[in-house]
Symmetry: D2
């Protein structure tokens, strides 16, 4: 198992292929254990009450796992999310970023599976967890 | 089983308690069979490529189920999503709205469970499905 | 969309390829809307307390969806379950069979997705629901 | 966070409250990191083809998480599984036991959430993963 894209490579991929969404995310770390991705929480990620919204948490988990897969197979895949099972366990802390830790559990020819833990920065207990599956097409070109 | 809030009541609830998010959604129908909710697709819901993004689909499913529960228990709950399992089956059609059909399968004292089908308007086959669980606190006041 | 195997064909498939497990199940109905499968509840399906166990409910949902897929593609697939998200909503009623209603929501080249509702016979409210995904290999031969 | 039941205590609980099912399982380890549970694979756990069946894997994950929760709250709960999302990633190896590693991610007043990895003994890559939720009743007495 080798790493085909590091944190800088993944960040560059985000900027190039994810356009304006890229500014939401910072790749904190990428190694064989997985990818850590930061959601730079802004007003548009909040729901009434001031905590990070469900869709923003879903998006963070999804992008984190997507990057974890790309770190293994390179920026050649048109992988698409086919399944996401998510548990929302605690209300995110207001006023701090969210961090996602994604790990790849299976990287098959046609399916990749992994899971993600989401943390409010500075807190030890996860706010959410997700299991995600991606379909990897036989031949593929860049993009999400 | 009675309906405590109809489509107009749910729409008014959205406007009052969900602020700017409310303009994304139109409650098309609400009866004992469930709630149909429209996502008025705009540029902010799209991902690179022009189809509706995963977070926007998640948000639509989540709000549709939330409203389906409120239609049964009234605007008194601070229900929170605890689990969502979602299958993404087809790419949403570009240029049309998404419609969610949510039904409540269980309405217990502390947990509500339901499922949602998402359709691109005008197409017969669903683009996604979701099963969702909400925790209903013992005593509750309005809001999400 | 046509039906390649009817209830009798599916039952014969079970007997031939699922051996002793087949006696647990009766295919009640199979049409384009889906498959209804009966779990003939016996002592081995019960947990302490006398209601149907979680593994038995999981098995019923899994076989029901598997048969619903086969009814569409014929007994030629070595489809394998890749994901199951299940909500357990009510305790099954003691002393009655369980019925599963499975429907196929997507039948793609490599993935099939569907959902299942489980009922205690004679009761209107479902005891559980499941969403399942199956991988369908490119070329395939009979068996599970 | 303290441990109220250790491996020996959990095993005794299984024997007392799970009757004949208890002989399927051996509690290998129980500490603050979680519980490792062995499924002593026998003919009744196999499906046609000789690998461990889906229901047997589901049962292993479910019991492992149940014991991980009990190790924290003691044998006083009538906790019930409300949700399980499971990814089946690899075919279990024939002829060896399955090991489940369960960890508790949230232990709330009314809900407990955790996840489980399943391994074929001797292999490094997991065969399956599961996320599970349990409802914990306000006042409770022993049993599953």
């Amino acid at each position: 198992m080798t790493l085909l894209m590091d944190a800088a490579g993944l960040q560059a991929f985000l900027v190039r292929d994810f356009g304006q969404v890229a500014e939401d995310f910072t790749v904190e770390q990428a190694d064989l254990a997985g990818v850590t991705l930061r959601l730079r929480v802004a007003a548009r990620h909040l729901r009434p009450g001031g905590t990070v919204s469900g869709p923003a948490m879903f998006g963070l988990a999804d992008v984190a796992m997507y990057l974890a897969i790309l770190s293994r197979i390179g920026p050649v895949a048109l992988a698409v999310t086919t399944n996401c099972a998510m548990d929302f366990m605690r209300k995110p802390r207001a006023g701090v970023d969210l961090l996602a830790q994604a790990r790849v559990l299976k990287l098959g020819r046609s399916l990749a599976v992994g899971d993600v833990l989401l943390f409010s920065e500075g807190l030890a207990e996860p706010v959410a967890r997700a299991g995600l599956t991606y379909a990897i097409p036989p031949q593929s070109t860049p993009a999400h």
